[in-house]
């Protein structure tokens, strides 16, 4: 059954259990076509199982999954032909060269050698294609895995911890390549437990923990939900003077020993706070409204759910 294609991937109340271990519990999320969705969560959160259910490599116990309007249970082969996956630890036939591995992928994905070469060039691994993969560094393996995953120009690309084990420079290069792919309109789902990686890439974040989705949405929307009040950091030449901040209008909470973290009812209050400080003879050295990072958001959501439960 073909659905309207606003969502590339849709999970509805998906449950998956391995023996007594619940891997996924009532998981709901959608990945719109052309979006970058980041599955964020600690190890064991259920991210890899989600990827495996998406391609039909695993079958869920209950719930409904739709990928490109198809069901992984009945149309798995077609889905797998249209989806590319970069697994968490990319594995290859180490005795074969990079090119032979790519050729194998191109054949089984019914692509051609020109596409394989183009993919290798795109990910900067074309110079090493005649070497046996057994001699590749982790970064080279990741680049080859990325090339292998896009050799058939997939409509959906799933990256499971694509920067695991990479040095910062290689990790940055991989993230830039993912951004480039996203810019071309591919639907991308990236699993990571590294918050800074999702920053600036994610159109939406799905926060997972213990097999459940804790929160999902665009980072800005999530920030509004979980961090409703604006936050500003204020510091002064004489920090002991900052005790007065709690008396100011619009200041909801003041925390911190050195520089103070103020929760305020509106960002419009910030100029008034500065003026009030100056009036009282206090010389501010830092006034910095907080733009919540994913890390701030992640820990705020975790705190929220801990308190909620």
């Amino acid at each position: 059954m073909v659905e309207a294609m606003s969502d590339a991937i849709s999970f509805q109340s998906v449950h998956k259990q391995f023996g007594d271990i619940v891997a996924l519990e009532d998981v709901d999320f959608v990945a719109p076509v052309g979006s970058v969705t980041v599955l964020l969560g600690p190890n064991g959160a259920g991210k890899t199982t989600t990827v495996r259910l998406t391609t039909g490599a695993l079958i869920g116990d209950s719930g409904a999954i739709s990928v490109l309007g198809l069901s992984p249970i009945t149309d798995g082969d077609e889905i797998r032909a249209r989806v590319g996956v970069v697994p968490p630890k990319p594995a290859f036939y180490d005795q074969l060269t990079g090119w032979e591995n790519l050729q194998f992928a191109a054949t089984i994905f019914e692509s051609d050698e020109a596409s394989a070469k183009a993919a290798a060039e795109r990910f900067g691994i074309d110079h090493a294609l005649d070497q046996e993969v057994g001699g590749y560094s982790t970064g080279m393996r990741t680049r080859l895995a990325l090339a292998r995953a896009v050799v058939h120009d997939p409509e959906v690309l799933m990256l499971d911890e694509p920067t695991a084990g990479l040095d910062p420079e290689s990790a940055r290069a991989v993230l830039d390549l993912i951004k480039e792919l996203a810019g071309r309109g591919s639907t991308i789902v990236m699993c990571t437990h590294l918050l800074h990686e999702a920053e600036g890439i994610a159109d939406q974040v799905v926060l997972m923990d213990n097999g459940s989705v804790r929160a999902a949405g665009a980072p800005a929307d999530l920030a509004r939900s979980y961090m409703a009040n604006p936050v500003v950091f204020i510091d002064a030449e004489d920090r002991s003077d900052l005790a007065v901040l709690s008396e100011f209008d619009g200041v909801l909470t003041v925390t911190g020993e050195g520089a103070r973290r103020l929760e305020i009812d509106s960002t419009d209050r910030i100029p008034d706070i500065v003026v009030e400080l100056v009036k009282r003879g206090i010389r501010p050295t830092r006034v910095e409204p907080l733009t919540p990072t994913l890390e701030d958001l992640y820990f705020e959501m975790q705190r929220h759910h801990r308190e909620g439960s």
Binding site: F18, G19, R52, T55, G56, A57, L58, I59, D77, E78, R80, A81, V83, V85, P87, K89, P90, A91, F92, Y93, D94, Q95, L96, E100, F104, A105, T107, I108, F109, E110, E132, R148
Partner: protein, 274 residues
């Protein structure tokens, strides 16, 4: 079933095997021992025997063989007739042992090896059907064994003809029985063993377990095939044809029912029955 996909799996597996020296050199040595070393020592040894009591013993061994065989033996002297008997009848099972050992060594590692390397994850997410993966793995395991069998058979023929031929009036090998054995009876026995070994390879947790378990499977098949091979050479054409046909039927039945042993979750290593 897309044969181009099966071919891709076969090609990748065989290419990998060819590049893995640690894997095929021991198998090459095994084939060399069975197809060349052992026949040279045994047949050459018989030819060198000159002591009267040993010649008498060999003559009595040949005399104890069934009449059907004795009537077919060529050569005028007891040692010539003994050499012929060894070459044609007593060494027959090596035609089965070597290919079976080679194929089972390759097959045992084929599926569990994908899981251990992590390449099973790639296959599980690929558009290959499990039937294509299974058939690819089967053919890739069968080919090395069969090639070993045919090449070894060729070498064995050379050895036998060079050592025994001059004593029995010229090159006489391969006989009809051996041709039937190698071309018609050995392949289904390899397939039977592989159908069982691939099931094991899909289920066990490690390649080491697969190799141990495969030897348990291979041994009865070797024993059965040893008996069949030896028996067939006594009255070759009809019995070998029938035995081969039965073996093929069993092989196809087992192969058809084995397809389901490969499941994507087993390639990932998350199946509950692993």
């Amino acid at each position: 079933m897309r044969w181009s996909m099966v071919r891709a799996v076969v090609k990748a597996d065989l290419y990998r095997l060819v590049k893995t020296r640690d894997y095929w050199i021991p198998l090459l040595i095994l084939g060399g021992i069975f197809f060349v070393g052992m026949p040279v020592i045994l047949l050459g040894g018989i030819g060198l025997v000159e002591q009267n009591n040993v010649v008498t013993q060999i003559g009595s061994i040949v005399g104890s063989l069934p009449d059907a065989i004795q009537n077919n033996l060529q050569g005028e002297t007891p040692t010539a007739r003994a050499s012929y008997a060894f070459a044609v009848y007593l060494l027959a099972p090596i035609a089965i042992i070597v290919p079976l050992t080679v194929s089972s060594a390759v097959g045992a590692n084929s599926i569990v090896g994908e899981r251990e390397r992590g390449t099973g994850e790639f296959l599980a997410h690929s558009p290959l059907t499990v039937r294509e993966i299974y058939l690819g793995k089967l053919i890739a395991s069968l080919i090395p064994g069969y090639v070993a069998g045919v090449v070894g058979f060729g070498l064995y023929s050379l050895v036998v003809n060079i050592i025994v031929g001059p004593k029995v009036g010229g090159w006489f090998f391969p006989t009809v029985g051996w041709m039937l054995l190698v071309l018609w009876v050995v392949p289904p026995f390899i397939a039977i063993a592989l159908s069982l070994i691939l099931r094991l390879s899909a289920r066990v947790r490690s390649a080491a377990s697969a190799h141990q378990a495969s030897s348990l499977v291979t041994l009865p098949v070797i024993v059965a095939s040893y008996g069949v091979a030896s028996g067939l050479l006594y009255s070759p054409v009809l019995s070998a044809s029938i035995a081969g046909l039965i073996a093929w039927i069993i092989a196809f039945a087992l192969l058809a029912s084995s397809t389901g042993s490969i499941r994507r979750e087993r390639l990932l290593g998350v199946s509950g029955d692993l």
